[in-house]
């Protein structure tokens, strides 16, 4: 095998690698550079060092958007994970009925964010929404979910949970299928109760799936954008503006490209840090009690 022949292997990977370099690596670098410059719509601007970052630190709108992002992520990920896990446990059985219900719980996951918000806009709207109509039948006053500062994030979370249940549920179902039957047989021979079996066998065996679901969902929800942009445009008075919506507005509304880039870099680092921390923490926990 000569060196020249070796290089031929690269030819197969080259189409992908070329696009990868152009459309991902280069923009990633360029983004860092942009964040260090004051750039607007009219040309390349000038170098400001960490000026954009300093400005972000003192920008209450950005601060609020980060807080909103964390809040909505915390409102979504734990309930989503728990509901998906219990659905998977309940639906991990043969039979037509379970199959149909699985299909129903997954069906919303194939919709685009536009459709989801379109549907939920007319559920949450106090005057013409489904929830409003239902409320009225009980004789209650419909709640203004999308225009109340305290209700808007829970409303976005509810919409997102409804939308996102399918994939975590499928992941848990797949995880359950991987647990060897003989572990349950051994537990049965030991007269283990159903509750004990769940805590001692099912949950530890699902640990890797659980970590995967939490990591993927956290990273996804920290980038929550469409729901907020489409349902409320960040309102009322910024109460539902997420970090990605902030950078979207800065970039494509006000064309402050450098400023928006700095916000993007900060969010990128936050997501990376959170993901790595989750991975590291669960790795340690798993190592400590010798789990699977």
């Amino acid at each position: 095998m000569t060196a020249a022949r070796d290089w031929r292997g690269l030819l197969f990977a080259l189409p992908f690698l070329a696009l990868y370099a152009l459309i991902l690596i280069f923009p990633l670098m360029r983004g860092v550079w942009l964040s260090l410059n004051q750039v607007d719509l009219f040309g390349d601007g000038h170098f400001v060092g960490f000026g954009n970052y300093a400005r972000l630190l003192h920008d209450p709108v950005f601060g609020t958007s980060l807080v909103n992002t964390f809040e909505v992520t915390l409102m979504i990920v734990p309930p989503l994970t728990v509901i998906a896990l219990f659905l998977a446990l309940a639906l991990n059985r043969a039979g037509k009925g379970a199959a149909i219900i699985r299909g129903i719980f997954f069906s919303s996951a194939v919709l685009s964010v536009t459709i989801v918000t379109l549907i939920w806009r007319f559920i949450l709207a106090p005057d013409a929404g489904l929830l409003g109509e239902a409320w009225k039948t009980f004789g209650w006053q419909p709640l203004p979910f999308l225009s109340d500062e305290h209700l808007v994030l829970p409303a976005l979370a509810l919409t997102t949970i409804w939308w996102s249940l399918g994939f975590p549920m499928l992941l848990f179902l797949a995880g359950l299928q991987q647990i060897p039957e003989d572990m349950y047989e051994a537990a049965a021979l030991d007269h283990s109760s159903r509750w004990t079996t769940f805590w001692r066998i099912t949950l530890p065996s699902l640990r890797r799936t659980l970590v995967l679901v939490v990591m993927l969902q956290t990273a996804a929800q920290l980038q929550l954008f469409g729901q907020s942009q489409l349902l409320t445009a960040g309102g009322p008075s910024g109460a539902s503006r997420t970090a990605v919506l902030f950078l979207f507005e800065a970039a494509f509304g006000r064309w402050e490209l450098g400023y928006a880039s700095a916000a993007a870099e900060i969010l990128f680092l936050i997501i990376l840090a959170v993901t790595i921390t989750q991975y590291w923490a669960t790795g340690r926990a798993t190592g400590a009690d010798g789990g699977r």
């Binding site: 923009p27 194939v110 993007a264 990128f268």
Partner: protein, 281 residues
Amino acid sequence: MPTVAANIRRGRLTPLGWGGLIFGALIMVAPLLWTLLLSLKNNSELVGHSGAALHGPYTFENYVAIFGNSLTTRWLLNSAIVALGQTAGVLILASLAGYAFARLEFPFRRTLFVIVLLGLAVPSQAVILPQHELFAWLHLHNSYPGLILPGLVAPFGVFFMTTYMRGIPRELDEAAMLDGASRWTIFWKVIVPLTIPAQSTLAVFTFLGAWNDYWWPLISATRSDMYTLTVGLAAAQMNYAQTSGLGYLMAQAVFASIPIFIVYIVFQKQIVRAMAGAALQ
């Protein structure tokens, strides 16, 4: 004993349990049914009183109107072109690169593979601004290549195909080498046919992702005739006040979801299998 164990594992679901599940399922479908009912109503009937959707008369007039609206059908066409183009592109690029990483020896192979894997951790918002700038330089905004290209950079696809191809016995490559097959023949005649299950799984996920993508077309397609369905419907719901009404809007939503539901129903198996694969990793 296996029957006992199976019972404990699955736990016999009580009628209460079934009741809970069915109730949950109803809550899940209620929004979908609500949308469907709204789409079947005359627009003026719904003004100020959406509860009218719960009873007749129902009509297909909103759907008929969609076919009269060239823009919505144009968005459907755009979505189809972008989603199919991205799916084909990802399959080709990921298969080629996967084969290289799984089977061929070339300088920096490991390093390059790690760099590709690191791409999995880059959220799209971190690169969207420079991407927008790049595509502006290339004059690719408001074009099909401009809508398709960013979706082709899918590190997951490469990772997925590499893993799958590593599972194919190397003896097959060697047999083909002794059969006088070139690298390309081995790839095309031996490896690719054996990756069809993986190809179909990757195709379904790429298609779903591309069809539902909102982020990039929102930024890249600024002319309404180049909108995809997601962006078009977003614009429509923002301009709700000026549009022809709630029923029509919901008919558009249903119309836009039909292709994806068909894909979902036809390819359920691939989706479930891919999940099983992900859970294993």
